[in-house]
C-alpha cells in the first residue's frame, strides 16, 4: 500500500511542476480559455464516477454514483464545449473577411 502511495505522490509532485511550467508560458490573452480548458480537464473525475459505478452495491452507492455522474458529466462536456466556443472566436490576424481561403482549422 505504502509503495503505491509513494509512486502516486511522485507522479503528483512531478505533474504539479509540469503544470507550473506549461501554464506560466500561456499569454494573458488566453487566460480565460485556459482557465476554462483546465477546468474541463478536471472533468476527468468522470473516470472516478465510472469506477464507483462498477463497485456500487448499495442504495447509497447508486445515489452517489448518480450524483457523481451528473456533476462530472456537466463539468467535462460543458467545459470542453464552452472552451472550444471561445477559442474558435479568436480569428486569425490579417484574414480580413472571407475565411473560406486556407483551411478553416486554425
Amino acid at each position: 500500500m505504502i509503495e503505491t502511495l509513494f509512486g502516486n505522490l511522485a507522479i503528483f509532485v512531478l505533474s504539479l511542476l509540469v503544470g507550473v511550467e506549461v501554464i506560466s508560458k500561456i499569454p494573458s490573452t488566453l487566460h480565460t480559455p485556459m482557465m476554462s480548458g483546465s477546468n474541463a480537464i478536471h472533468g476527468v473525475v468522470i473516470a472516478g464516477a465510472i469506477t464507483i459505478a462498477s463497485v456500487a452495491n448499495s442504495p447509497a452507492g447508486y445515489v452517489l454514483t448518480f450524483i457523481a455522474g451528473v456533476l462530472a458529466a456537466a463539468n467535462v462536456f460543458g467545459g470542453y464545449v464552452v472552451t472550444d466556443r471561445m477559442l474558435q472566436m479568436f480569428t486569425r490576424p490579417t484574414s480580413a473577411k472571407p475565411e473560406t481561403s486556407k483551411k478553416d482549422v486554425s
Binding site: 494573458s28 487566460h31 472533468g43 452517489l64 451528473v70 463539468n75 467545459g79 480569428t91
Partner: protein
C-alpha cells in the same frame, strides 16, 4: 501487476500526455483550439479505458451502471446547453459553475469509495486520508464556487456580506469539519462522521465566499479552481488512478498560477482577499472627496472625439470593466473597424484583469471579430503608448491610474497601462466616480485628457455615427 493492468497504465499515461500537450498548445491563439481538442481526445481515451478497466476488474451490477448512464446523460445535456447558450459576458459565472460541479463530483466519488468500504473493519490510512481530504476540499469548492457564481451573476449581492459573529462561526465550522475529518480517519469507517465532514465543509464553503466582494470573486473562482484540481487528485489517490492524479495536479498548478497573477494585477495579496472576507478591512473609501468636482475636467462631445480619432494616425483603445458591463464589445469593434478602413492604425491595449476575469476582455473582443494580433498585452501596449496619438479609454479606471507609480496609495505598485504617455487621451466613462480602489484618478484631470461622459455602449455608438459623417463627407 498483470499485463492488463500494465496496458491500462500505459493508456492512462498516454491520455495524461495529451492533457499536457493540449495545455501546451494553448500558449498561442493559432494553436489553442487544436490544443483543447487534443485535451478532449485525452479525455475520451481516459474515459474509454476506465470503462473497460472497471468492467473487467469489478463488473458491477446493472443498477450501478444505469445510475451512471442516466446521471451522465442529464449532466451532459445540462453542460452542453449551458456552454452553447451562455453569453460571453457571463463566461466567468459558467466557469465557476463547471468548477463547482467538478469539486462536487470529486467529493461524491470519495464519499462513494468510503461507503463501499463500510463493511470492512479498518481502512488503510493511504486510502482514508485522501478520501477525507477529498470530501473536505471538494465540498468547500462546490459550495464556494456556486456562491461565487451567484455573486458574479448578481443573484447574490456583490457586497461583502457579513454579520456579527460571522468570523467566530466560520472558525467554529472549520474546526468541526477538521475535527470530524481527523476522527473519521481512525477506527472503523464511520458514515455519520463523514457526513458531518461533508455538511460542515459545505457550510464553510458558503461562509468563506459570502463575505468576499464581487470584484474579488474572479480571484476566488481561480483559487477554487486550484482546489478542485487538488480534490480530483485526492480522488485519484483514493481510487488509485494516475489519470486523476496527473490531471488534478495540472489543474491545481493552473489555478494557483492564475490566482497569483490575478492578485498581482489587482495589487492585492491572495491572503488579503480571503481574509478580507473574514470581516477585516475591505471597506471601500466612499466616493466622497471631490468626485463631482468638474472644474479641472475638459469635457468632450461625441463630435469632438470623432474629429480627434479621425485625424489620428495611431489609436490605442484601453477597454475596461465598464465596457464589459455595458456589453459594448461590438460597438467598440465597429468603431475600430471604421477607423481602420479610414487608414487609422487601431490597436487594443488590454490590461491582464480587464473584464471580469483574466483574459476575459480578449474573449469579448474576439467575439466581436477583433483579430488577436490587434490585442496588445500590457508590455507591448506600454511600449506603443509613446507613439500613440489618441488613447481611448473605455470604462477603465484603476488600471490606468498614473498614481500607481507613486508610493503610498491604494494602487501603488499595481501594473498599469501607461495611457498618460499618449499624446492625447479620451476617456469614455459614465461619471467621475472612482473605481474599485476607491481613489481619484489624476489622468481625468490631466490637461491632455478629454472626458466624454456616457455609457460605454451608447457613447461608442454616438462616436461611430459622428466619425461616419467625417469619413463620408
Amino acid at each position: 501487476m498483470s499485463t492488463f493492468d500494465f496496458l491500462v497504465g500505459i493508456v492512462y499515461l498516454a491520455s495524461a500526455t495529451l492533457f499536457v500537450v493540449g495545455l501546451h498548445m494553448m500558449r498561442a491563439p493559432s494553436t489553442a483550439r487544436r490544443g483543447n481538442l487534443i485535451s478532449a481526445g485525452g479525455m475520451v481515451i481516459a474515459v474509454l479505458t476506465t470503462i473497460v478497466f472497471a468492467t473487467v476488474n469489478a463488473g458491477g451490477n446493472w443498477i450501478g451502471w444505469a445510475a451512471l448512464i442516466v446521471g451522465v446523460a442529464v449532466g451532459a445535456v445540462y453542460g452542453v446547453v449551458q456552454a452553447r447558450t451562455v453569453q460571453m459576458t457571463s463566461i466567468p459565472q459558467l466557469v465557476s459553475i463547471f468548477n463547482a460541479v467538478g469539486g462536487g463530483a470529486a467529493a461524491a466519488v470519495a464519499f462513494a469509495e468510503f461507503v463501499a468500504h463500510t463493511d470492512h473493519t479498518q481502512l488503510d490510512l493511504t486510502v482514508s486520508i485522501p478520501i477525507v481530504l477529498d470530501v473536505l476540499i471538494g465540498s468547500i469548492t462546490f459550495a464556494g464556487s456556486l456562491i461565487a457564481a451567484g455573486k458574479l451573476q448578481g443573484i447574490i449581492s456583490g457586497k461583502p456580506l457579513t454579520f456579527p459573529g460571522a468570523r467566530v462561526l466560520n472558525v467554529l465550522v472549520a474546526l468541526i469539519a477538521l475535527g470530524a475529518a481527523v476522527l473519521a480517519l481512525f477506527g472503523a469507517p464511520n458514515l455519520p462522521l463523514l457526513l458531518v465532514v461533508l455538511v460542515a465543509s459545505l457550510i464553510f464553503g458558503v461562509l468563506m465566499v459570502l463575505p468576499i466582494g464581487g470584484a474579488d470573486a474572479p480571484v476566488v473562482v481561480s483559487l477554487l479552481n486550484a482546489f478542485t484540481g487538488l480534490a480530483v487528485a485526492m480522488a485519484g489517490f483514493a481510487i488509485n488512478s494516475q489519470a486523476l492524479i496527473i490531471a488534478g495536479a495540472l489543474v491545481g498548478a493552473a489555478g494557483t498560477i492564475l490566482t497569483l497573477q490575478m492578485a498581482k494585477a489587482m495589487n492585492r495579496s491572495v491572503g488579503a482577499i480571503i481574509l478580507g472576507g473574514f470581516g477585516t478591512a475591505d471597506v471601500k473609501t466612499s466616493a466622497g472627496s471631490g468626485s463631482d468636482d468638474l472644474t479641472n475636467v475638459r469635457q468632450l462631445t461625441a463630435d469632438d472625439v470623432a474629429i480627434q480619432l479621425a485625424y489620428a494616425q495611431h489609436v490605442l483603445i484601453a477597454p475596461g470593466f465598464g465596457l464589459a458591463a455595458a456589453q459594448a464589445q461590438h460597438e467598440v469593434a465597429e468603431l475600430a473597424k471604421l477607423l481602420t478602413d479610414h487608414g487609422v492604425d487601431v490597436k487594443y491595449a488590454i490590461h491582464p484583469v480587464a473584464g471580469r476575469m483574466p483574459g476575459h476582455m480578449n474573449v469579448l473582443l474576439a467575439e466581436a471579430n477583433v483579430p488577436y494580433d490587434q490585442m496588445l498585452q500590457l508590455d507591448e501596449a506600454n511600449a506603443a503608448f509613446g507613439n500613440c496619438d489618441v488613447a481611448l479609454v473605455v470604462g477603465a479606471n484603476d488600471v490606468c491610474n498614473p498614481d500607481a507609480r507613486k508610493p503610498g496609495n491604494a494602487v501603488s505598485g499595481m501594473p498599469i497601462l501607461d495611457v498618460d504617455h499618449a499624446k492625447s487621451v479620451v476617456v469614455i466613462k459614465r461619471s467621475m466616480s472612482p473605481g474599485y480602489a476607491g481613489i481619484s484618478n489624476p489622468l481625468f484631470t490631466d490637461p491632455k485628457t478629454g472626458m466624454f461622459f456616457a455609457d460605454a455602449k451608447q457613447g461608442l455608438a454616438d462616436i461611430t455615427t459622428a466619425v461616419k459623417e467625417y469619413v463620408t463627407a
